[in-house]
Symmetry: C2
Subunit: 213 residues, 2 copies
Protein backbone atom coordinates (compact mmCIF):
# COMPACT_ATOMS: atom_id res chain seq x y z
CA UNK A 1 0.00 0.00 0.00
CA UNK A 2 1.44 3.37 -0.98
CA UNK A 3 1.66 5.99 1.76
CA UNK A 4 -1.52 8.02 1.92
CA UNK A 5 -1.16 11.15 -0.18
CA UNK A 6 -0.85 14.17 2.07
CA UNK A 7 -3.73 16.19 0.63
CA UNK A 8 -6.52 13.69 0.70
CA UNK A 9 -6.00 10.41 2.49
CA UNK A 10 -7.72 7.45 1.02
CA UNK A 11 -11.10 7.02 2.67
CA UNK A 12 -13.46 4.13 2.98
CA UNK A 13 -17.09 4.58 2.02
CA UNK A 14 -18.15 4.61 5.64
CA UNK A 15 -15.61 7.30 6.47
CA UNK A 16 -16.79 9.41 3.60
CA UNK A 17 -20.42 9.35 4.65
CA UNK A 18 -19.53 9.88 8.28
CA UNK A 19 -17.55 12.95 7.35
CA UNK A 20 -20.21 14.41 5.12
CA UNK A 21 -22.96 13.58 7.61
CA UNK A 22 -21.14 15.35 10.41
CA UNK A 23 -20.31 18.36 8.29
CA UNK A 24 -23.84 18.68 7.03
CA UNK A 25 -25.20 18.30 10.54
CA UNK A 26 -23.04 21.17 11.71
CA UNK A 27 -23.92 23.26 8.67
CA UNK A 28 -27.63 22.63 9.20
CA UNK A 29 -27.41 23.53 12.88
CA UNK A 30 -25.64 26.79 12.12
CA UNK A 31 -28.12 27.76 9.45
CA UNK A 32 -31.15 26.83 11.53
CA UNK A 33 -29.87 28.85 14.46
CA UNK A 34 -28.93 31.78 12.25
CA UNK A 35 -31.92 31.98 9.94
CA UNK A 36 -34.54 29.55 11.19
CA UNK A 37 -35.69 26.31 9.58
CA UNK A 38 -37.88 28.13 7.06
CA UNK A 39 -35.02 30.00 5.44
CA UNK A 40 -32.58 27.12 5.69
CA UNK A 41 -32.21 25.63 2.22
CA UNK A 42 -30.85 22.25 1.24
CA UNK A 43 -28.59 24.04 -1.21
CA UNK A 44 -27.00 26.16 1.51
CA UNK A 45 -26.53 23.17 3.79
CA UNK A 46 -24.70 21.22 1.12
CA UNK A 47 -22.50 24.11 0.07
CA UNK A 48 -21.70 25.28 3.61
CA UNK A 49 -20.64 21.73 4.42
CA UNK A 50 -18.17 21.97 1.53
CA UNK A 51 -20.07 19.88 -1.01
CA UNK A 52 -22.37 20.50 -3.91
CA UNK A 53 -25.77 22.13 -3.73
CA UNK A 54 -27.42 18.75 -4.20
CA UNK A 55 -25.87 16.52 -1.59
CA UNK A 56 -28.16 17.36 1.32
CA UNK A 57 -31.20 16.63 -0.79
CA UNK A 58 -29.73 13.40 -2.08
CA UNK A 59 -28.65 12.18 1.33
CA UNK A 60 -31.72 13.08 3.36
CA UNK A 61 -34.33 12.88 0.61
CA UNK A 62 -36.09 16.05 1.63
CA UNK A 63 -35.91 19.06 3.87
CA UNK A 64 -38.02 17.23 6.43
CA UNK A 65 -35.59 14.34 6.18
CA UNK A 66 -32.72 16.66 7.02
CA UNK A 67 -34.55 18.08 10.03
CA UNK A 68 -35.40 14.57 11.13
CA UNK A 69 -31.73 13.71 11.00
CA UNK A 70 -30.77 16.78 13.03
CA UNK A 71 -33.35 16.09 15.73
CA UNK A 72 -32.41 12.44 15.89
CA UNK A 73 -28.68 13.14 16.10
CA UNK A 74 -28.83 15.85 18.72
CA UNK A 75 -31.57 14.05 20.63
CA UNK A 76 -29.40 10.97 20.84
CA UNK A 77 -26.45 12.92 22.19
CA UNK A 78 -28.71 14.53 24.73
CA UNK A 79 -30.24 11.25 25.87
CA UNK A 80 -26.77 9.81 26.38
CA UNK A 81 -25.77 12.70 28.60
CA UNK A 82 -29.01 12.41 30.49
CA UNK A 83 -28.83 8.71 31.14
CA UNK A 84 -25.20 9.10 32.17
CA UNK A 85 -26.12 11.84 34.64
CA UNK A 86 -29.02 9.92 36.16
CA UNK A 87 -27.47 6.46 36.11
CA UNK A 88 -28.17 4.63 39.33
CA UNK A 89 -30.37 7.39 40.72
CA UNK A 90 -34.10 7.33 41.31
CA UNK A 91 -36.79 9.47 42.86
CA UNK A 92 -36.02 13.04 43.71
CA UNK A 93 -32.28 12.59 43.25
CA UNK A 94 -32.74 11.53 39.65
CA UNK A 95 -35.01 14.50 38.98
CA UNK A 96 -32.49 16.89 40.46
CA UNK A 97 -29.76 15.42 38.30
CA UNK A 98 -31.94 15.58 35.18
CA UNK A 99 -32.91 19.19 35.77
CA UNK A 100 -29.35 20.20 36.51
CA UNK A 101 -28.08 18.43 33.41
CA UNK A 102 -30.70 20.17 31.33
CA UNK A 103 -29.68 23.50 32.78
CA UNK A 104 -26.01 22.88 32.08
CA UNK A 105 -26.76 21.77 28.55
CA UNK A 106 -28.73 24.92 27.80
CA UNK A 107 -25.97 27.14 29.13
CA UNK A 108 -23.16 25.29 27.36
CA UNK A 109 -25.12 26.03 24.21
CA UNK A 110 -23.04 24.62 21.39
CA UNK A 111 -25.86 25.70 19.10
CA UNK A 112 -26.91 22.09 18.64
CA UNK A 113 -29.36 22.26 21.51
CA UNK A 114 -30.76 25.50 20.17
CA UNK A 115 -31.39 24.04 16.73
CA UNK A 116 -32.83 20.97 18.41
CA UNK A 117 -35.44 22.93 20.33
CA UNK A 118 -36.19 25.22 17.39
CA UNK A 119 -37.05 22.16 15.34
CA UNK A 120 -38.87 20.67 18.29
CA UNK A 121 -41.24 23.62 18.51
CA UNK A 122 -41.55 23.91 14.75
CA UNK A 123 -42.93 20.41 14.76
CA UNK A 124 -45.89 21.54 16.84
CA UNK A 125 -48.01 21.74 13.72
CA UNK A 126 -49.77 18.71 12.22
CA UNK A 127 -48.28 16.14 9.91
CA UNK A 128 -44.68 16.97 10.57
CA UNK A 129 -42.34 14.06 10.07
CA UNK A 130 -40.13 15.28 12.87
CA UNK A 131 -43.15 15.26 15.15
CA UNK A 132 -43.00 11.52 15.70
CA UNK A 133 -39.38 11.65 16.75
CA UNK A 134 -40.03 14.59 19.03
CA UNK A 135 -43.00 12.84 20.58
CA UNK A 136 -40.87 9.76 21.08
CA UNK A 137 -38.26 11.71 22.99
CA UNK A 138 -41.00 13.47 24.93
CA UNK A 139 -42.67 10.19 25.83
CA UNK A 140 -39.38 8.66 26.89
CA UNK A 141 -38.66 11.62 29.14
CA UNK A 142 -42.02 11.15 30.81
CA UNK A 143 -41.47 7.43 31.18
CA UNK A 144 -38.14 8.05 32.87
CA UNK A 145 -39.70 10.41 35.38
CA UNK A 146 -42.60 8.06 36.01
CA UNK A 147 -40.14 5.26 36.66
CA UNK A 148 -38.27 7.38 39.19
CA UNK A 149 -41.50 8.24 40.97
CA UNK A 150 -42.63 4.65 41.02
CA UNK A 151 -39.31 3.62 42.48
CA UNK A 152 -39.81 6.20 45.21
CA UNK A 153 -43.31 4.90 45.80
CA UNK A 154 -41.94 1.54 46.89
CA UNK A 155 -40.42 3.21 49.94
CA UNK A 156 -43.63 5.05 50.84
CA UNK A 157 -46.67 4.07 52.84
CA UNK A 158 -49.62 2.69 50.92
CA UNK A 159 -51.74 5.74 51.67
CA UNK A 160 -48.97 8.13 50.59
CA UNK A 161 -48.48 6.89 47.06
CA UNK A 162 -47.60 9.54 44.48
CA UNK A 163 -49.33 9.87 41.11
CA UNK A 164 -46.39 9.07 38.85
CA UNK A 165 -48.27 9.90 35.68
CA UNK A 166 -49.32 13.32 36.92
CA UNK A 167 -45.89 14.23 38.21
CA UNK A 168 -44.22 13.06 35.01
CA UNK A 169 -46.65 15.13 33.00
CA UNK A 170 -45.91 18.23 34.95
CA UNK A 171 -42.18 17.61 34.75
CA UNK A 172 -42.31 17.29 30.98
CA UNK A 173 -44.49 20.35 30.49
CA UNK A 174 -42.24 22.41 32.76
CA UNK A 175 -39.12 21.47 30.84
CA UNK A 176 -40.82 22.47 27.61
CA UNK A 177 -41.85 25.79 29.09
CA UNK A 178 -38.31 26.41 30.28
CA UNK A 179 -36.83 25.45 26.93
CA UNK A 180 -39.16 27.86 25.18
CA UNK A 181 -38.15 30.66 27.51
CA UNK A 182 -34.52 29.86 26.80
CA UNK A 183 -35.15 30.10 23.07
CA UNK A 184 -37.16 33.28 23.31
CA UNK A 185 -34.83 35.00 25.78
CA UNK A 186 -31.35 33.64 25.12
CA UNK A 187 -29.62 36.18 27.31
CA UNK A 188 -31.82 35.87 30.37
CA UNK A 189 -29.40 33.64 32.23
CA UNK A 190 -30.85 34.60 35.60
CA UNK A 191 -34.37 33.75 34.53
CA UNK A 192 -33.33 30.42 33.07
CA UNK A 193 -31.52 29.45 36.23
CA UNK A 194 -34.48 30.58 38.29
CA UNK A 195 -36.92 28.47 36.28
CA UNK A 196 -34.78 25.38 36.77
CA UNK A 197 -34.44 26.11 40.47
CA UNK A 198 -38.17 26.58 40.77
CA UNK A 199 -38.77 23.28 39.03
CA UNK A 200 -36.45 21.59 41.51
CA UNK A 201 -38.35 23.27 44.29
CA UNK A 202 -41.77 22.29 42.95
CA UNK A 203 -40.73 18.70 42.37
CA UNK A 204 -39.26 18.56 45.86
CA UNK A 205 -42.58 19.70 47.27
CA UNK A 206 -44.48 17.11 45.28
CA UNK A 207 -42.09 14.30 46.19
CA UNK A 208 -41.57 15.01 49.87
CA UNK A 209 -45.17 15.70 50.83
CA UNK A 210 -48.07 13.34 50.76
CA UNK A 211 -49.65 14.95 47.77
CA UNK A 212 -52.40 13.28 45.77
CA UNK A 213 -53.73 14.55 42.42
Amino acid sequence: MPPAPAGRPRQTHAERTDRSDRRMLDAAVELIVAHGPEKTTLKDVGERAGYSRGLAGYRFGSKQGLFEFVVRSVGEQWLQQLTAATAGKTGLAAMHAAIHTHYRFLLADGQHMRAFYILWFSSAGPESDTKNIVLGIDARRRDDVATWVNAANRTRAADQQLDAHAIAGQFGASIIGIAYHWLAHPDDHAGIKQLHDQLVHTMTLYMTQGHSA
Copy 2:
Protein backbone atom coordinates in the same frame (compact mmCIF):
# COMPACT_ATOMS: atom_id res chain seq x y z
CA MET B 1 -79.16 53.55 -8.17
CA PRO B 2 -80.74 50.21 -9.08
CA PRO B 3 -82.15 48.17 -6.22
CA ALA B 4 -79.47 46.03 -4.68
CA PRO B 5 -79.53 42.59 -6.30
CA ALA B 6 -80.73 39.97 -3.87
CA GLY B 7 -77.61 37.83 -4.03
CA ARG B 8 -75.04 40.41 -3.16
CA PRO B 9 -76.14 43.65 -1.52
CA ARG B 10 -74.13 46.73 -2.26
CA GLN B 11 -71.28 46.99 0.23
CA THR B 12 -69.12 49.79 1.46
CA HIS B 13 -65.38 49.56 1.12
CA ALA B 14 -64.97 48.94 4.82
CA GLU B 15 -67.51 46.14 4.69
CA ARG B 16 -65.76 44.56 1.76
CA THR B 17 -62.38 44.45 3.45
CA ASP B 18 -63.89 43.35 6.73
CA ARG B 19 -65.60 40.47 5.00
CA SER B 20 -62.56 39.38 3.08
CA ASP B 21 -60.33 39.77 6.13
CA ARG B 22 -62.59 37.58 8.23
CA ARG B 23 -62.96 34.95 5.54
CA MET B 24 -59.25 34.83 4.91
CA LEU B 25 -58.56 34.62 8.63
CA ASP B 26 -60.85 31.63 8.88
CA ALA B 27 -59.37 30.04 5.78
CA ALA B 28 -55.85 30.55 7.09
CA VAL B 29 -56.75 29.07 10.46
CA GLU B 30 -58.27 26.00 8.87
CA LEU B 31 -55.30 25.44 6.59
CA ILE B 32 -52.75 26.00 9.34
CA VAL B 33 -54.52 23.54 11.61
CA ALA B 34 -54.96 21.02 8.82
CA HIS B 35 -51.58 21.16 7.10
CA GLY B 36 -49.30 23.33 9.22
CA PRO B 37 -47.93 26.76 8.40
CA GLU B 38 -45.27 25.35 6.08
CA LYS B 39 -47.72 23.82 3.66
CA THR B 40 -50.21 26.65 3.92
CA THR B 41 -49.96 28.71 0.72
CA LEU B 42 -51.19 32.21 0.07
CA LYS B 43 -52.91 30.88 -3.02
CA ASP B 44 -54.92 28.34 -1.04
CA VAL B 45 -55.89 30.93 1.56
CA GLY B 46 -57.24 33.31 -1.05
CA GLU B 47 -59.12 30.64 -2.96
CA ARG B 48 -60.54 28.92 0.11
CA ALA B 49 -61.81 32.29 1.28
CA GLY B 50 -63.67 32.55 -2.03
CA TYR B 51 -61.39 34.99 -3.79
CA SER B 52 -58.58 34.85 -6.27
CA ARG B 53 -55.25 33.20 -5.74
CA GLY B 54 -53.58 36.57 -5.28
CA LEU B 55 -55.67 38.36 -2.70
CA ALA B 56 -53.97 37.04 0.41
CA GLY B 57 -50.61 38.09 -0.91
CA TYR B 58 -51.91 41.49 -1.92
CA ARG B 59 -53.63 42.14 1.38
CA PHE B 60 -50.98 40.89 3.79
CA GLY B 61 -47.92 41.52 1.68
CA SER B 62 -46.27 38.22 2.47
CA LYS B 63 -46.79 34.89 4.11
CA GLN B 64 -45.25 36.24 7.29
CA GLY B 65 -47.67 39.15 7.07
CA LEU B 66 -50.58 36.74 6.95
CA PHE B 67 -49.31 34.84 9.97
CA GLU B 68 -48.75 38.10 11.77
CA PHE B 69 -52.36 39.01 11.07
CA VAL B 70 -53.62 35.67 12.36
CA VAL B 71 -51.60 35.87 15.56
CA ARG B 72 -52.63 39.46 16.14
CA SER B 73 -56.32 38.78 15.52
CA VAL B 74 -56.62 35.67 17.64
CA GLY B 75 -54.34 37.11 20.30
CA GLU B 76 -56.56 40.15 20.57
CA GLN B 77 -59.68 38.03 21.00
CA TRP B 78 -57.90 36.02 23.64
CA LEU B 79 -56.67 39.04 25.56
CA GLN B 80 -60.19 40.44 25.61
CA GLN B 81 -61.56 37.24 27.11
CA LEU B 82 -58.74 37.18 29.60
CA THR B 83 -59.10 40.74 30.80
CA ALA B 84 -62.85 40.23 31.04
CA ALA B 85 -62.38 37.14 33.17
CA THR B 86 -59.85 38.74 35.50
CA ALA B 87 -61.41 42.18 35.70
CA GLY B 88 -61.37 43.49 39.25
CA LYS B 89 -59.43 40.51 40.56
CA THR B 90 -55.88 40.42 41.85
CA GLY B 91 -53.51 38.02 43.54
CA LEU B 92 -54.38 34.36 43.63
CA ALA B 93 -57.97 34.93 42.55
CA ALA B 94 -56.84 36.56 39.31
CA MET B 95 -54.44 33.69 38.61
CA HIS B 96 -57.14 31.13 39.20
CA ALA B 97 -59.45 32.97 36.83
CA ALA B 98 -56.73 33.28 34.21
CA ILE B 99 -55.82 29.60 34.38
CA HIS B 100 -59.43 28.55 34.26
CA THR B 101 -60.14 30.81 31.30
CA HIS B 102 -57.13 29.38 29.50
CA TYR B 103 -58.35 25.87 30.17
CA ARG B 104 -61.83 26.65 28.90
CA PHE B 105 -60.43 28.30 25.78
CA LEU B 106 -58.32 25.28 24.95
CA LEU B 107 -61.23 22.91 25.36
CA ALA B 108 -63.70 25.06 23.40
CA ASP B 109 -61.13 24.81 20.61
CA GLY B 110 -62.66 26.66 17.69
CA GLN B 111 -59.42 25.94 15.86
CA HIS B 112 -58.37 29.56 16.18
CA MET B 113 -56.53 28.90 19.40
CA ARG B 114 -54.84 25.90 17.86
CA ALA B 115 -53.58 27.87 14.87
CA PHE B 116 -52.54 30.62 17.26
CA TYR B 117 -50.31 28.35 19.31
CA ILE B 118 -48.96 26.55 16.26
CA LEU B 119 -47.78 29.89 14.93
CA TRP B 120 -46.58 30.85 18.39
CA PHE B 121 -44.26 27.87 18.56
CA SER B 122 -43.23 28.19 14.94
CA SER B 123 -41.92 31.63 15.78
CA ALA B 124 -39.40 30.13 18.19
CA GLY B 125 -36.72 30.40 15.54
CA PRO B 126 -34.77 33.60 14.91
CA GLU B 127 -35.83 36.52 12.79
CA SER B 128 -39.48 35.66 12.60
CA ASP B 129 -41.73 38.65 12.17
CA THR B 130 -44.43 37.05 14.26
CA LYS B 131 -41.89 36.63 17.03
CA ASN B 132 -42.20 40.22 18.13
CA ILE B 133 -45.97 39.98 18.43
CA VAL B 134 -45.70 36.71 20.29
CA LEU B 135 -43.11 38.15 22.63
CA GLY B 136 -45.36 41.13 23.19
CA ILE B 137 -48.26 38.94 24.24
CA ASP B 138 -45.91 36.84 26.35
CA ALA B 139 -44.49 39.92 28.06
CA ARG B 140 -47.95 41.30 28.70
CA ARG B 141 -49.03 38.03 30.27
CA ARG B 142 -46.05 38.17 32.60
CA ASP B 143 -46.73 41.80 33.44
CA ASP B 144 -50.31 40.97 34.35
CA VAL B 145 -49.21 38.23 36.71
CA ALA B 146 -46.52 40.41 38.24
CA THR B 147 -49.11 43.11 38.82
CA TRP B 148 -51.38 40.64 40.59
CA VAL B 149 -48.54 39.45 42.79
CA ASN B 150 -47.50 42.98 43.64
CA ALA B 151 -51.07 43.81 44.59
CA ALA B 152 -51.06 40.83 46.91
CA ASN B 153 -47.74 41.97 48.34
CA ARG B 154 -49.35 45.12 49.67
CA THR B 155 -51.40 43.03 52.07
CA ARG B 156 -48.40 41.02 53.27
CA ALA B 157 -45.81 41.62 55.93
CA ALA B 158 -42.56 43.24 54.87
CA ASP B 159 -40.59 40.06 55.51
CA GLN B 160 -43.08 37.93 53.56
CA GLN B 161 -42.89 39.73 50.24
CA LEU B 162 -43.20 37.52 47.17
CA ASP B 163 -40.86 37.69 44.19
CA ALA B 164 -43.33 38.91 41.56
CA HIS B 165 -40.86 38.55 38.71
CA ALA B 166 -40.02 34.96 39.56
CA ILE B 167 -43.64 33.92 40.01
CA ALA B 168 -44.68 35.61 36.79
CA GLY B 169 -41.86 33.84 34.96
CA GLN B 170 -42.93 30.47 36.23
CA PHE B 171 -46.55 31.19 35.42
CA GLY B 172 -45.71 32.10 31.84
CA ALA B 173 -43.43 29.13 31.30
CA SER B 174 -46.03 26.77 32.74
CA ILE B 175 -48.74 28.05 30.44
CA ILE B 176 -46.45 27.55 27.47
CA GLY B 177 -45.68 24.02 28.58
CA ILE B 178 -49.36 23.27 28.95
CA ALA B 179 -50.18 24.78 25.57
CA TYR B 180 -47.52 22.65 23.94
CA HIS B 181 -48.91 19.53 25.56
CA TRP B 182 -52.35 20.49 24.29
CA LEU B 183 -51.02 20.84 20.76
CA ALA B 184 -49.04 17.62 20.89
CA HIS B 185 -51.77 15.57 22.56
CA PRO B 186 -55.08 17.08 21.46
CA ASP B 187 -57.17 14.26 22.84
CA ASP B 188 -55.60 14.01 26.27
CA HIS B 189 -58.36 15.97 27.98
CA ALA B 190 -57.58 14.46 31.37
CA GLY B 191 -53.93 15.41 31.14
CA ILE B 192 -54.71 18.96 30.07
CA LYS B 193 -57.13 19.43 32.94
CA GLN B 194 -54.59 17.94 35.32
CA LEU B 195 -51.85 20.31 34.18
CA HIS B 196 -54.09 23.31 34.73
CA ASP B 197 -55.11 22.02 38.14
CA GLN B 198 -51.50 21.44 39.07
CA LEU B 199 -50.63 24.97 38.02
CA VAL B 200 -53.41 26.27 40.23
CA HIS B 201 -52.04 24.16 43.04
CA THR B 202 -48.46 25.29 42.54
CA MET B 203 -49.42 28.93 42.35
CA THR B 204 -51.53 28.55 45.46
CA LEU B 205 -48.55 27.15 47.31
CA TYR B 206 -46.33 29.98 46.15
CA MET B 207 -48.87 32.64 46.99
CA THR B 208 -50.09 31.39 50.35
CA GLN B 209 -46.72 30.53 51.86
CA GLY B 210 -43.91 32.84 52.72
CA HIS B 211 -41.78 31.72 49.84
CA SER B 212 -38.70 33.60 48.76
CA ALA B 213 -36.59 33.01 45.64
